[in-house]
Subunit: 407 residues, 2 copies
């Protein structure tokens, strides 16, 4: 078992141990936010045929070569085609077919002219100026060409992508299944928010904030509730969680005190401890173990510490299980907006928020940075990465940060 | 009925006609992504009591004033308190109480010292240096104070906010109900993606892309399918959609051709036409009507036009109905990355994507900009707002844009 390892080692060690859970097909109505489990190529052109972008007349440009107001080209309207229907006739010299927006271009025609730009009397059409072949025609395949890659495996299904899949006739979308993530909190002091508060007790926030994180990532949280600080109970709950899920997260009970018994419970289950403690603040007392090819990650019971280690270490695992190409949070740089007066003995992550002013990116601290404080997570969308041994930070300096939350 | 109005007039006129649909309570597990329908103030301090951030001993700093390695302060350990339990005794001069992480600070104690920093033999404790009163104590209310505003009405419930609500004992969260948005497509040429493609037909992408947009915004789409270009059928479907939903969106049938019959259907229903056509490209032929205090918005059948008018005009309405304070898309500026060689007679919105390089924000065009092309919507997260009468755009110039998608 390794201990006190760097964050990056914790991330890469664990990422190698997970893969996308499995695939399934969902309807277009359920597809948004899911990830494609296969490359999608289109079997058809989009649009599937040459068509009219407007209400007008399809004809041959050659008939209008010498047309003018004084000497208009005169054409015979031989058919009318609505969108959704197919022309029965062909356009030949001296003829035109009326086409509505979206109707296929009739065979023989090479140009379309707007309703408003012609004069019509009975079936006789007058065109007052020469037309250029090819005008006002939407070509088959203008949007996407038959065989073209529409989206690669691992792409998030956004609304326009859902629309594009619909447009090429993909009604059942291949996606990665939702990873099931069991979450359980430990601690004799922890009670459910639905209970009455009693002396010495606190409400369980970790279960609910991490459950919400899982939902937001697109995973299916399996809420296992609170377990008292008894090794047998923790063993029983973790075992049950392993049976119900693809990944187990616990909070609390991972420090080195007399009652921090998650590590002991993991050993009793027979799980292999991969590491215990990561060199970072907050969130250092994190433990990772594996049992039957499933990971169990024990986070600190401190709300902010649990949150930050979830974002930096657990979220990447879940994203990999959901099919994301890279689960690791993107790194950015930004200009610091505030002073931070503490020196950092240990590598430290500060809660901050990106602000773009005059097209320049700034990082603004979101408030009190201590382990137990959740309030400063509310507006936090980046974590400033302060190296070990760093002195106070000064407004105006460039800082490195990782972007958290769902991208 | 107004026609050819500016986008801003269309937005504000319609926004005045909608309000949040109603309120309900959801469990913490269902809360993420919803919007608070009430201000939330906390009825308790968080944490609720002074407590220990570590495993250690609670004592009186006064007892250690003269302590040194040679002459340690010697204290009697009189009790041990685990997290979740309440001290039975008080700390008095010469005594200490063992406290585990999260345990309440015992009465009488004013400082806590770590396990690792003392020597203990039996019940005798030696402290080797003077302690400062107040050290290593997490104070009640350090995170939030009783009565404090936690989050205002209209706030989106993010995972940390869900955690904070759990922490203050809010188990049932007051949220705005999901607005029901009916979507129906018109057009004889339009068929469902599950059908076999036939000559002259195209697959329905609008229904599915707009349904996905509604889902992503947090609304409940009501998928009404495709209606042929027959006025009676459109009247019947819009009437049914009005009964099933809070807002009705149609696509197609809003231009001025012979078969663009949504406006006629709206008049037959007895709906009041608010405006028809907005001065913008793409998406100009949009119609808005009201019937029985419900809005019906008819969008273009062109996929990109439908999408862009949804984002600029319909999404703000839905956001208002869902409880967002301002539904209007935020405006930003950015440095253009590409040339755009066309002049714009009409106000035009160009599909583009924000890229931040060296902390500077750029806008990159996402491809082909014509009305029917959906592919360039895929990566689009901003629409560059090009004023009417503007000439070609040049890489390096600053442009205005609106941010689309869910913020």
């Amino acid at each position: 078992m390794k201990t006190g390892i760097p964050l990056e080692e914790a991330q890469t060690t664990l990422l190698e141990l997970v893969r996308p859970v499995k695939e399934c097909h969902v309807s277009l109505a359920e597809a948004v936010g899911r990830l494609l489990s296969q490359d999608i190529r289109t079997a058809i052109n989009l649009p599937p045929f040459d068509k009219s972008p407007l209400d007008g007349y399809a004809l041959q440009a050659g008939d209008t070569e010498t047309a003018s107001s004084e000497n208009p080209a005169i054409l015979q309207v031989i058919e009318e085609v609505r969108a959704g229907f197919v022309p029965e006739k062909q356009v030949t010299p001296g003829t035109a077919i009326k086409v509505m927006t979206g109707a296929p271009l009739p065979a023989g025609a090479d140009v379309i002219i707007k309703f408003e730009d012609v004069a019509r009397t009975g079936n006789q059409l007058k065109v007052m100026y020469p037309l250029q072949a090819g005008s006002n025609i939407i070509r088959a395949g203008e949007d996407v060409r038959q065989g073209e890659l529409i989206a690669a495996k691992g792409t998030v299904l956004t609304p326009p992508l859902v629309g594009l899949l619909a447009g090429i006739g993909v009604a059942a979308v291949p996606v990665f299944s939702k990873a099931k993530v069991a979450i359980l909190s430990t601690g004799d002091e922890v009670i459910d928010p639905s209970e009455k508060l009693r002396p010495g007790k606190i409400y369980n926030s970790n279960l609910h904030s991490l459950g919400a994180c899982c939902s937001q990532l697109g995973a299916a949280p399996v809420m296992m509730g609170v377990v008292p600080d008894e090794q047998a109970a923790i063993v029983e709950h973790i075992s049950r969680a392993l049976a119900l899920s693809d990944l187990v997260i616990t909070t609390g009970g991972v420090s080195v005190g007399d009652y921090d018994i998650v590590p002991a419970a993991l050993k009793q289950i027979g799980a292999e401890i991969i590491f215990w403690k990561v060199d970072m603040k907050p969130g250092s007392p994190i433990i990772a173990a594996q049992y039957n090819n499933k990971l169990i990650i024990g986070l600190s019971g401190n709300p902010a510490a649990a949150f930050i280690t979830f974002d930096l270490i657990v979220a990447p695992l879940i994203k990999r299980m959901l099919g994301f190409e890279s689960g690791l949070p993107p790194k950015i740089s930004a200009i610091l907006k505030d002073n931070f007066n503490k020196s950092s003995q240990q590598r430290r992550f500060l809660r901050a928020k990106v602000e773009i002013i005059n097209n320049i990116r700034y990082a603004k601290l979101t408030g009190e940075q201590s382990n137990g404080v959740l309030k400063s997570m509310i507006d936090c969308n980046i974590l400033i990465d302060v190296p070990a041994g760093n002195g106070p930070l000064v407004a105006g300096q460039e800082v490195s940060a990782v972007v958290i939350g769902r991208q």
